[in-house]
């Protein structure tokens, strides 16, 4: 019972393939993010969904209606798709006051006057803008302007709400607040949301599921927790959260690091599907512990006291491994020898040298 379906969607700009054979299913009522570095194709995908770009290959299907199809030469223009979109630079019309910004699109939809004012007032209420409905955008803060865009989107009762990096222009504290507000609005109105961002922390915090993209190709689609705990490849592992990459060798059932083979054994528990002898292990800084014996030996090269968290750089041979531990658990000294225990490892096979 999916709401949005992208089937073999491809988009090229000249010689560059911006989106490459993307297949995606977004469920009704879901908050779904497109996440990736700039240039990965996430905004292009959103614009194809919105109808601002057409496809070179593939189809966009919403409900069971085909909105775009390159083979069947179908293209429904943006204004007929019943979507709502919120942009990074707010796109709030400066010559209309708050009320009219929200009401304007409704006036072109053959709705009765009472229904328009009902919808607008409700939208303003849930975005905390009722008090400033007579004001003009330039009199309001960035956060309030973004809320105008949200109110406008809600009032439309859209099939899907599209958000293109909507929080990037806001300061960090406000960003957090607005994240919660969008989530609350989603729950209250049962909206299907497609959210584009380059900020992985933001994507993880807000999404029910997300798509990680790189260079036009889908890397992984899953819930934030699953992606964080089981990244399918090195790119996803490195892009989401912090990670250490450790080049390692499997020798007689023991895994040691190439950077300092004498330092100790990383682990003896090798997943059954790993056949290669050379692997790259990935490990999160928060998932490594200091132990008093056993483990891999290293020297604390430097530490940064960041308040709640202490950030350690531990030198293991030629490799620098990063750990983050809570201050409350104690602070070690720079220059001290230490032993590392790796609590969770992600395995990526490498070719023989």
């Amino acid at each position: 019972m999916s709401q949005v379906n992208l089937v073999h969607v491809t988009k090229r700009f000249g010689k560059v393939t911006a989106v490459n054979d993307l297949n995606l299913e977004i469920r009704e009522g879901e908050c779904f993010s497109f996440l990736g570095p700039s240039g990965c194709g996430k905004t292009t995908t959103l614009r194809m969904l919105a109808g601002f770009e057409d496809l070179d290959e593939g189809e966009v299907i919403v409900g069971n209606k085909i909105f775009s199809s390159s083979s069947k030469k179908i293209y429904v223009s943006p204004e007929k798709r019943n979507f709502a979109m919120v942009f990074q630079a707010f796109a709030v019309w400066p010559h209309l006051n708050v009320y009219n910004n929200v009401a304007f699109p409704l006036k072109h939809r053959r709705l009765s006057r009472t229904e328009i004012s009902e919808r607008v007032e409700r939208a303003l209420l849930y975005t905390s803008l009722s008090k400033v409905k007579e004001s003009y955008p330039n009199e309001l803060s960035g956060g309030q302007q973004q809320r105008i865009a949200l109110a406008r989107a809600i009032a439309l009762n859209p099939t899907v709400m599209l958000l293109d990096e909507p929080l990037s222009n806001l300061d960090p504290k406000l960003r957090e607040e607005m994240r919660f507000e969008i989530k609350d609005l989603q729950k209250r109105f049962g909206l299907t949301i497609v959210f584009v961002t380059h900020d992985q922390a933001e994507a993880m915090a807000i999404s029910d599921r997300m798509l990680v993209m790189s260079e036009g190709v889908a890397q992984q689609v899953d819930t934030p927790m699953n992606i964080y705990n089981h990244p399918t490849n090195k790119f996803v592992c490195g892009f989401i959260g912090l990670s250490n990459f450790i080049p390692a060798l499997i020798k007689d059932g023991q895994v040691i690091t190439e950077a300092d083979p004498e330092a100790g054994v990383i682990t003896t528990q090798i997943p059954s599907e790993i056949k290669a002898r050379r692997v790259t292990l990935a490990c999160r800084p928060s998932e490594i512990d200091f132990v008093s014996e056993g483990g891999v030996r290293g020297v604390i090269k430097r530490l940064a006291y960041l308040g709640e968290i202490i950030d350690y750089r531990v030198q293991v041979g030629s490799l620098e491994i990063r750990l983050q531990k809570l201050r409350r658990r104690g602070v070690l000294q720079e220059g001290a020898t230490c032993f590392l225990k790796f609590n969770r490892l992600h395995w990526y096979e490498e070719q023989e040298a």
């Binding site: 919660f180 992985q200 922390a201 993880m204 915090a205 934030p224 927790m225 964080y228 989401i240 959260g241 912090l242 999160r284 800084p285 928060s286 998932e287 430097r302 940064a304 006291y305 960041l306 308040g307 709640e308 950030d311 983050q324 809570l326 201050r327 409350r328 609590n343 969770r344």
Partner: protein, 364 residues
């Protein structure tokens, strides 16, 4: 290397008193940070030390030289102060190459050509820009321009260096990198650094000592990072240095409860503090533990957010919303992950106590 001394420094712009009676001594070779919100006057202090502004009152010493005195009408212009400055917007000259930018101070000082060339290349290598000497600034990234500014400030071997929010315009990863590099450089060369920022994380990471300012330009506390973070002088400092939970408490009939409610709190204000009927308990998100054992303090989980390495909770203790964080790994291992709507129990650690916000009790 020199120490910097500010004695009774005030700066007024007409009616607007930005700095009032400031007394600070920065020790030789130390990395000292002026930390505070935007508009608190910290950049003005830097400009006073650099010589771009004159103090309304007070005197400034660099080493044993008096460089500015309002009372004696002395003002050594910036070009004679031997200070390296890195500006917030880098101020790298767009019409000069990297090499020309860095060698400029030596040219002005008429250093011997060969020596100048050698020192310039050394500075460029030190900041990791070797090979890019002939590039113009528009061909460089933000981080690279930042390093040009650093090299230029270092090349004349200044006694002190002033850095005005130099990492502001860089993205998070680069900011971290540059933080370390600045610290490394300082250790290598031993120059005295005065650093201005509003970012408390940077301040904690690089400073030997920090001076925290409030928005009126007054110093709230001076101390080492750990001291400021773990033994804050007042509520303002506590709040500024990181995410905080403040719980107003009152003592009624011998029991501690949350202000204006009946919810008991199993917290003991430290003995020795002035006995007060109202107090403020302050706590960091990681210092409140969630547990399934009854601690006497029950919380209702309002919101759970997965942030990767951390779990972020908004939990209501009675009417009060608390912000609590856990290490995801630890929580998973110990079955301490909670869902929205669930009830849990709270355990507090490292509580800081302040006079209540509602009653001014003077300095404790």
């Amino acid at each position: 290397m020199a120490e910097v001394k500010l004695e009774n420094i005030s700066k007024h712009y007409g009616e607007h008193r930005v700095i009032e009676n400031l007394n600070i001594t920065v020790k030789e070779g130390e990395c000292f940070t002026f930390l505070g919100p935007s508009g608190c006057g910290k950049t003005v202090i830097l400009r006073l030390i650099a010589g771009f502004e004159r103090p309304t009152n007070g005197e400034i010493f660099i080493g044993s030289s008096l460089v500015s005195s309002a009372e004696q009408k002395i003002h050594l212009p910036p070009e004679e102060r031997k200070i390296g400055v890195v500006f917030q917007d880098y101020a790298v000259w767009p019409h000069k190459t990297v090499y020309e930018n860095v060698i400029y101070p030596l040219k002005i000082q008429r250093i011997d050509k060969n020596e100048a060339k050698q020192r310039t290349m050394q500075a460029i290598t030190q900041v990791g820009l070797k090979g890019l000497e002939k590039r113009l600034p528009y061909q460089l990234s933000g981080g690279q321009q930042q390093r040009v500014a650093l090299a230029r400030a270092l090349v004349s071997k200044p006694e002190i260096m002033l850095l005005d929010e130099p990492l502001n315009n860089l993205d998070a990863k680069l900011r971290e990198e540059m933080r370390f590099e600045i610290k490394e450089l300082q250790r290598e060369i031993g120059v005295t650094i005065l650093y201005v920022t509003h970012d408390q994380e940077v301040a904690l990471a690089i400073s030997d000592r920090i001076a925290i300012f409030d928005h009126t330009g007054h110093v709230r506390q001076i101390g080492a990072p750990r001291e400021i973070y773990e033994k804050p002088a007042d509520k303002y400092v506590f709040n500024f240095m990181g995410v905080s939970n403040f719980i107003p408490l009152e003592i009624k009939n011998g029991a501690t409860i949350i202000e204006d409610s009946n919810i008991p709190v199993a917290l003991q204000p430290p003995t020795g503090k002035k006995e007060a009927l109202r107090m403020l308990a302050a706590c960091r998100p990681f210092d409140i533990e969630l547990t399934r054992e009854n601690t006497g303090m029950k919380g209702e989980v309002k919101r759970v957010t997965f942030l990767g390495a951390t779990m972020d909770y908004r939990i209501n203790l009675g009417e009060k919303e608390l912000r609590i964080q856990q290490d995801t790994q630890e929580a998973l291992q110990n079955n301490l992950l909670f869902k929205e709507g669930e009830d849990c129990f709270l355990k507090f650690y490292n509580v800081a106590w302040f006079e209540s916000q509602s009653v001014e009790m003077g300095v404790s």
